[in-house]
Symmetry: none
């Protein structure tokens, strides 16, 4: 048997042990929004790394939740990094789960539990790949670094500080980003980037208290002010109407446009995927993956209970997120938003920034892209779908921009994994194939990147 066949056989034979590892990680709650179980989960992840031959170090000197750094020093000149996070979204609404979100259930070839897809199944897959190589070859043919943080689901507020403090630890030739999924046709979907994020709260607040709504004939209503202000921000087709919003958006290069052409409708066809109404846009894939956007996440004023209450509210607020593309800077967009509101006569709308970080993309010409694409094609036995950028956001810029390391995202989820939602799950077969994909990528890493 070849080395590859040996490794893959080992992975198949140890299937139950790797499923147990996923279950063990998922069983430990780790909700960054509330802090529940965060420290315990960091300890558990460090323990799991050590048990599988990875030296683990837990850092807290950056002032945030523990970052678990894992390392295998091999007799090699090439270094691969895995970025993951051990924190999860809150499990609510609990009554929609078929089983306890933190007591993972295995049935019909699936593991159901909070964090199975996002992101503990992927942590387990990467540890398992190292384990399989150690146990088959007696060594790992590439230096390995695990960067596993605990604040991703709340915007990674202290990761940049961690990287600043420990830049010398974090050298690598390429990084495998946290997640990925298989589409309905079984194709693995790989991402070469993420969007940036600017999350703001808009508020109009009157000096007075609530009034009887009959005064609405004469008294300024903050809900009207907010509605009028918001209506100036975006047109009916979703184009943002803030002056200068698109100034820093670059035309995609030829290579990226070619990638766009090849993206199957299954990736972006929200009508089929969710039964959603979609905006009338010329090129949906381009809009979703390569263009910035502005979304209302929340809207609130006055009485929102059952029935009717006649009140003239004292305040009104909205939560908005802007999804940004490379070269758009959150602080600049924030300034343009404020200027727009002021210019349009809505200087009474206060703007507070709650989160902000830039986008990140890896050049499709990077050897890492070819490596991960080809190993995926081999392991999944089908051509992967490669996206020039995903539509979600994440702190990838810290890897690509601060550290200068190319990043590609792949993982063990599938189209039905329900990340952030009740009954989050992965399929065991995807876990096993995902482990093989990571193992094969490590086997080929040195030759491909050096």
């Amino acid at each position: 048997m070849s080395v590859i066949e040996d490794v893959f056989s080992y992975v198949d034979e140890n299937r139950d042990r790797y499923v147990e590892l996923v279950k063990r990680l998922v069983s430990q709650p780790s909700v960054s929004a509330t802090g529940e179980g965060i420290n315990e989960c960091a300890d558990l992840v460090a323990e799991a790394l050590e048990e599988h031959g990875v030296r683990a170090y837990t850092y807290t000197d950056h002032g945030g939740s523990p970052v678990v750094f894992g390392e295998v020093k091999a007799e090699a000149h090439a270094t691969i990094m895995f970025y993951n996070h051990y924190d999860v979204q809150p499990p609510e609404p609990l009554d929609e789960w078929v089983s306890d979100p933190f007591n993972p259930k295995v049935a019909e070839g699936m593991i159901v539990g909070r964090g199975t897809a996002d992101n503990k199944g992927n942590i387990a897959a990467r540890i398992a790949a190292v384990d399989a190589l150690f146990n088959t070859l007696g060594e790992v043919p590439v230096n390995v670094k695990f960067l596993i943080e605990g604040e991703e689901e709340v915007g990674s507020p202290s990761l940049a500080r961690f990287v600043e403090l420990h830049q010398q630890l974090l050298f690598a030739d390429g990084c495998v980003w946290e997640y990925g999924y298989r589409d309905k046709l079984g194709r693995p979907v790989l991402n070469l980037g993420v969007k940036g994020l600017l999350y703001v709260e808009l508020e109009v607040r009157e000096g007075r208290g609530d009034l009887h709504s009959s005064w609405g004939a004469l008294v300024e209503n903050p809900a009207w002010r907010l509605v009028k202000a918001l209506s100036t921000l975006r047109d009916e087709r979703g184009r943002v109407m803030i002056d200068g919003f698109y100034d820093d958006v670059e035309e995609p290069g030829q290579r990226v446009l070619e990638m766009l052409e090849r993206i199957p409708a299954e990736v972006y066809d929200a009508s089929t995927l969710f039964g959603a109404r979609v905006l009338e846009v010329e090129n949906p894939a381009r809009r979703l993956l390569l263009e910035p956007a502005c979304n209302v996440c929340g809207l609130y004023s006055g009485y929102i209970g059952a029935g009717s209450k006649t009140v003239l509210p004292a305040k009104a607020s909205a939560k908005l997120d802007f999804r940004l593309v490379p070269r758009q800077r959150p602080e600049d967009i924030l300034a343009k938003l404020k200027k727009h509101l002021s210019n349009m006569g809505y200087g009474d709308v206060e703007v507070r920034m709650l989160q902000g970080y830039p986008a990140a993309r890896t050049d499709p010409e990077e050897p890492l892209v070819e490596l991960i694409t080809s190993t995926a094609a081999e392991v999944y036995e089908t051509e992967p779908v490669v996206l020039p950028s995903g539509y979600a956001s994440g702190p990838m810029y810290i890897i690509t921009n601060t550290l200068g390391i190319p990043c590609v995202s792949t993982g063990v989820g599938y189209y039905g994994s329900k990340p952030h939602a009740p009954n989050e799950n992965i399929r065991i077969q995807d876990l096993i194939t995902g482990i093989k994909h990571i193992a094969l990528t490590m086997l080929r890493f040195h030759r491909a990147l050096h």
Copy 2:
């Protein structure tokens, strides 16, 4: 001592007992929006009437919340009616109350609690006036009818049906409407009318569930749809932009315009009254009292908790009230609103009518107006402010139009009573003076109206 002096002394001596009556009524929650305590409050009101010499009958045959009808049959040919309601607005937001809204607090000469001004203090004042006359004169010099409903705050949906079923019960020569207040100079403000009301809920609902907000680049967001639709309804100066909205608005007559001229700024100057920002309008008194308006009472979509959640909501809703003037019909305005939304391209905005009734006004030449104005001048020792219409709404049309009975509104509130808002309150001195005003009006009623 004269009869009047006897009655007034009796009222002063029984001040604590009357305050207790207010507290007892306020202590019983009766939120028509949710149904909380409605039946219990009807029973309590009937009990209070009976205890003070008024025969009480509770009706439910009209299919709504109980209507409490109270009657004193006197040796008189004239009949006075009191219209009131025992239901109250929801107490929310609870954290802005200085004390429990349903555990009324007496301090610094005030009673604080939900319903003190609107409308239980007035129920108590009218019962107290009957009580004082009984206990001073041994009889009441006019037939008295109490019509006390439990659905006023939700638009009196079944009062018209009650009146249709029991029209023979409801003959009267004049009606004292539910409420009134004193302005900052101590002048009682009397109303000869109310505005009509159309209360609607607008909703945009998607067939899909909530999505991750990164899909906002491509997927229709009901919050954006709602914001855009709402922004077409009203201009910056509060003029309603629905086609045909002002078609049925009549020019006020000469007598009403003269009354308008005499209205002091204290009545409508919301800037001084509440520290409110006011709309730029040519004639604030006319806008507030005689012109229709459209107000946002509530706005809701997506995530409104602390911090940030990146969600693309599945629905968005708004609550609006339209204040109408005579000849505007709620059904007609509703149809015009729907047509406007459809014409503007917002046919996906569903409109549900929650309340609707027309405006009502009593002719300033009615003898009842002169009676209540002159008794007010005598008791309050200052010239009252008489408004051709109030700016609030109520089902007065059932009295004035269906039954043909003139109506004047007066009551025990003051400019700081905060109806519908946290810390609703009345001043005990206003309660006592208000009781005297009602008692004197009853004493003079027969002579003035027959």
